[in-house]
């Protein structure tokens, strides 16, 4: 069966759990920014948890199904509509043959994951179906969806049950003010101590440049750096370093003014100092923050990060055990 894209939405792309092992050649992991919601939507339908889905940012697509198929939508609160009739989030429903599936504008969160029984049929590239737009790789022709695209869907497996829904305890909670836990380090010794301290004491707001590559933050006091003689090869700006790898989740501070959190389509390296890294358990949360919402960074230890990671994995395990 196939699905025709009538309207593409703001930045809809095909994603799965991402690709590993090519970051040293400049190819980032990609994959759904909120992995938990992507996995939840697939598991609700009885799909393999890493089946390819459509990630819809802020404004969803309008899609026409040429055959009936069960779907599930998890993540941001964007009410799905079938031929205009509202359908629930976090619950399996069917789109009849010839019907149109659309979404209301987002009410909370930033990204919705639309899973389709069977999963989307695009070729695996370097072990994943995820779209990496900077490299024109994966997904549908290496880019976000466009009007007129036709998505082919793998055969239905018949395990999807209408009305199956996420238990309330597993439905994500959205906010307008988030705390993101950060392990300080990397080049944070370049910051003046009072500037370093203030970074964690102020609210930052997400700029409009917030996408799969990274989230730019503004509104905090510009950071000041310890004076130095620039090391050979680094560049003259106080925030410059000799070009190095950028960890996923690392927070870089070009010229000290607007910090950027790198996400799953990250540029893999460059010449700006990074001052810490958002812990893996909070990366899904980053993908659900809207522009203009507020963020407070909270410094934690590696032990804290590992404890949060264990709780995150328990959540995933609960999804897998869901009745």
């Amino acid at each position: 069966m196939s699905i025709e894209v009538i309207k593409p939405g703001l930045a809809s792309s095909i994603q799965d759990k991402g690709r590993e092992g090519k970051y040293h050649l400049g190819i980032p992991p990609s994959g759904g920014m909120d992995q938990r919601s992507l996995i939840a939507a697939n598991l609700l339908l009885g799909n393999p948890e890493g089946a390819a889905v459509i990630e819809c940012a802020l404004m969803g697509p309008e899609l026409r199904f040429n055959e009936a198929r069960k779907v599930a939508a998890c993540g941001a609160e964007m009410t799905p509509r079938v031929n205009g009739e509202a359908k629930p989030l976090n619950e399996v429903f069917e789109v009849p043959a010839g019907a149109t599936l659309s979404f209301d504008f987002v009410k909370a969160g930033a990204r919705l994951y639309l899973a389709i029984e069977g999963g989307i049929d695009v070729p695996e590239r370097l072990g994943s179906r995820s779209t990496y737009t900077l490299g024109s790789l994966g997904g549908l022709n290496g880019r976000t969806l466009q009007a007129g695209d036709v998505l082919h869907i793998l055969p239905a497996h018949g395990h999807a049950t209408l009305g199956r829904c996420l238990p309330d305890s597993l439905v994500p909670m959205f906010s307008k003010h988030y705390q993101l836990r950060v392990v300080p380090g990397l080049y944070d010794h370049r910051l003046m101590p009072e500037s370093h301290k203030r970074f964690y004491e102020e609210d930052w707001s997400v700029a409009s440049e917030a996408d799969r590559i990274g989230y730019r933050m503004k509104g905090g006091t510009p950071l000041s750096f310890v004076e130095r003689e620039p090391p050979f090869g680094a560049g003259d700006d106080p925030s410059n370093i000799v070009d190095a790898c950028y960890p996923i989740g690392s927070i870089q501070v070009p010229s000290g003014s607007e910090p950027i959190i790198l996400h799953r389509d990250a540029v893999s390296g460059g010449g700006y100092a990074m001052i810490g890294t958002v812990i893996s358990a909070d990366m899904d949360t980053v993908g659900q923050i809207q522009p203009h919402q507020k963020v407070r960074f909270v410094a934690v230890t590696l032990e804290d990060a590992l404890a949060a990671r264990a709780r995150y994995q328990q959540d995933l395990e609960q999804l897998r055990q869901m009745p």
Partner: protein, 298 residues
């Protein structure tokens, strides 16, 4: 000696999945050589729980699964490798020498740089004229000769898919250096050859960029479609440790090579080579000649 070399190493936890290792705060061939040697050894160990190993210019990064290998265990392993590399008597690297043909002063980067003059330090000059002047060359041709005559080490592959960062293999006082644009451009032609800081790059895809632009190469270096026989399944041509020699070509040769590339028939000139760090350090100019001989002796 080994203490001296490993003393500058700095380990930093980057969240719960990355260990970042700075070998030197400044760019040196020594630091790069250590980065490539340590990461190669780590790769050969094939330790469970190691997900990605990324060498960079004077640092490297390892992505690991902390449920399989702890940060402490990983750091201990890396410290051991750092000591092994520092202690080795013969410092060599099995690698390739690759010729990259370049049409310098081409119409496409020229058109692009003219569109972004208001982002540039010297709006009245081209990127080549500016770079030649601030590096003390009396003409653009002399600058092009300096860029293309010496070999460059691929010290990192990244930023975007397949983009090589290259470090010039000459004594520091002769290294070409140029600042990046004041504000990044929103456009750079695909396969643009440029420099920022002390690093020469080849942009693998069209897109944003801040390096000074000098020319374009017809050689495909990133192949997401899989139709270039000289690029393997990784889709990426360059590897950290490759040695590159640029060669200036004219428009006629550019057009011929580009047309071959479009037919999937581009045959890069590549030779196997054992790089010896100490031999290079003793006589960089003689070594550069040797690299050229290796490339052109067949």
């Amino acid at each position: 000696m080994s203490n001296e070399m490993t003393a500058t190493t700095r380990y930093s936890q980057a969240g719960d999945e990355f260990l970042f290792v700075e070998l030197n705060e400044e760019m040196t061939l020594e630091a790069f050589f250590r980065s490539i040697s340590i990461t190669q050894r780590l790769r050969d160990m094939a330790l469970p729980g190691i997900i990605e190993i990324c060498p960079a210019n004077a640092s490297y990064q390892v992505r690991y699964n902390p449920d399989v290998i702890s940060a402490g265990q990983l750091q201990e392993t890396l410290e051991g490798l750092d000591r092994d590399v520092a202690a080795q008597q013969v410092r060599t690297l099995e690698t390739r020498v690759i010729e990259v043909p370049v049409l310098y002063n081409d119409p496409w980067t020229h058109e692009t740089l003219m569109r972004f003059r208001d982002h540039h330090q010297d709006p009245s000059a081209t990127d080549l004229e500016y770079a030649a002047r601030i590096n003390g060359y009396d003409s653009v041709d002399a600058f092009i000769e300096a860029h293309s005559a010496t070999p460059w080490f691929v010290s990192m592959v990244g930023f975007v898919a397949g983009l090589p960062f290259m470090y010039q293999m000459v004594p520091r006082e002769r290294q070409i250096q140029v600042p990046k644009y004041l504000r990044p451009r929103t456009d750079t032609p695909k396969q643009t050859v440029g420099i920022g800081g002390c690093f020469s790059v080849i942009y693998s895809v069209r897109g944003a960029g801040g390096y000074q632009m000098f020319g374009v190469t017809p050689m495909p270096i990133y192949d997401p479609e899989g139709d270039q026989p000289h690029i393997d399944d990784s889709m990426i041509f360059f590897r950290p440790g490759d040695i590159v020699k640029h060669r200036a070509i004219d428009r006629e040769e550019y057009d011929a090579l580009l047309s071959a590339a479009e037919k999937g028939d581009f045959k890069p000139r590549v030779a196997s080579f054992t790089f010896d760090l100490d031999a290079f350090s003793q006589d960089p100019d003689g070594y550069a000649r040797r690299v050229k001989e290796v490339l052109y002796e067949h």
